[in-house]
Symmetry: C2
Amino acid sequence: MLAGRRVEDLPTPAFTVDLDVVKRNTQEMAERFRALGVNLRPHMKTHKSLEGGDLMTGGTRRRIVISTLAEARFFADGGFDDILYAYPLPFDKVEECATLAERLESFHVLVDSAEALALLKGRPLHRGKRWKVWLKIDCENKRAGVRHTDPAALELAQAIAAGPMELAGVYAHCGNSYHCQGVPEIQSVAQTTTEMVLQFMEKLREEGIPCPVASIGSTPSCSRPVPEMAKLQEVHPGNYIFYDVQQMTIGSCQLTDIAVRVLTRVIGHYPHRNQMLVDCGWTGLSLHSLGQLPTGYALVEGHPNLKLVGMSQEHGRVEAVTGKLDLAQFPLGSLLSLIPYHACATAAMHPVYYVHIKGQVVATWKPVKGW
Amino acid sequence: MLAGRRVEDLPTPAFTVDLDVVKRNTQEMAERFRALGVNLRPHMKTHKSLEGGDLMTGGTRRRIVISTLAEARFFADGGFDDILYAYPLPFDKVEECATLAERLESFHVLVDSAEALALLKGRPLHRGKRWKVWLKIDCENKRAGVRHTDPAALELAQAIAAGPMELAGVYAHCGNSYHCQGVPEIQSVAQTTTEMVLQFMEKLREEGIPCPVASIGSTPSCSRPVPEMAKLQEVHPGNYIFYDVQQMTIGSCQLTDIAVRVLTRVIGHYPHRNQMLVDCGWTGLSLHSLGQLPTGYALVEGHPNLKLVGMSQEHGRVEAVTGKLDLAQFPLGSLLSLIPYHACATAAMHPVYYVHIKGQVVATWKPVKGW
């Protein structure tokens, strides 16, 4: 346990979380949707920690989204409930979903096919429970979901609502917001996705299919919401607890909103090739960004002229963006702070997060891994 | 514990290891260098497991390489010894290295700078021990190491050998073999690196600097060795325990030598965009290959016309390489077997490996994580 230490004294590479920034990010998101009268159902996939879940739910430990059963078990064991497994029902995991649904007050599953629904019908719940089933619709995101305009979507909603399960909600992920640049583009996706979902809800009403909740998600759309989103019942963003360079580039946040860093130390000087090595490779950062930032695989805090040009398993190669690298500025052993491109991916590489307030470590969080 | 199950029945995504193939890979590498009269000091970084270490050392649990102190502690706690920490000495970890050097019969460190050597001099070992220090030289690999032709290399060797530490060896990683295509290119790198190291050893002899061991590594060069390598004392490959598509592409191995797979299931059919989803995203495979294989991010075993075109955290998108995807061939819930591009990177994403013999799970291995 390294609580009490300064982050500068942590062994590197170290994944650090600025608690003040996390609190601000989570409170602002909560307030944003409280003001709109929309419930927030935060996604746990970015941090996968009980402590992060506490902050995102304002301490209620209720109403969350997860995307693996390892997360479901972990949060259930940690006292969380009202858990939505927002993932196309995997056919090998129906029995475990049933166990969770029977054990928790509220464990929701999601389907986008008649085959998945048939599996749920084939495994009725005990203990007086019935399946709470969400319909995943695809609103131009092109990943999972029945297309919102496809008659099959309405048919599937009808089939769910016909029982013995209940249609608990309609779920859309506006992952296409990740291709945006700037707030107007994000808001355009948010507006379009919201309208598509609301149109679908209207069709449900016309058909007399009861469905209490429409939910959309993605950190960009929920960080820059449009007024129309007030007509939804829920939103389900996740990344905003940490934010990252990707979100900043999209326009979801400012640099000062990014709560996480990978601390790394200089381990070698190679002036003949104008390069130095640091002790963070892809095991500490991931390969996300694919090196395509002007500064390579990350931003180096306070050093806009440094570029992380490549990584092997435990080594990172740092060059100057332009000109000669001034090695005297970075003695062997000195610390650099990398701002990750994709916080979800970087967090996934670390078995422990060092949580600090103004640079003083106050806690360590241990995320769940695996499936 | 899922021992006894068939791999087809494992929850997905699952990282599987074919024990017969691992045994063959490790035995062949051991025999190859026994025949050459060269000691094998296998690198643990790919699998990071006690069981893998057992197989790579032929059960001796002696003479290994590691690249993080988490691995050092893990293998030391597991009864391994004669451990070389083949990583430019990190300045924040000298005290922990000292503890390991005092605790183990033989814990070796590596330096490529006078500054690192000065740190070791400033922390003499207790218990009658002295530092075993390896000199890292760079033979055109352009990562860590003093260039083999740089007078500084000889000076640093001299300074190490002057005591109170001992110069335990000279270490070169021919990582440039990873840019090869085909056995002749690999053997050219192996030949050149060996000659450079041997020339450097000759210079040491001329200067009267005692140094018992010259070691080179990389799975390509050690899988396709040249006769000159018989003049070395050690080699230190690592990836060969598993091999992967990258190694096959380089020419280090055949497809049948690749011991690992990621099993994944079909979770969605999207005929309108000629695509299906599988339950393996970058958390199960990593982004290595950057999608640049003709089949995307992996090979799909037995299905050369399938292409893993993209991944998000828990979803993989699969298309046909050419033509229309025949979804009837891949019902929802059916299993696909992904052959990873980079086994080290894929293994790093998994908290447990499912080890099987002819498809029957016989053990689970738990790798060490972190630093």
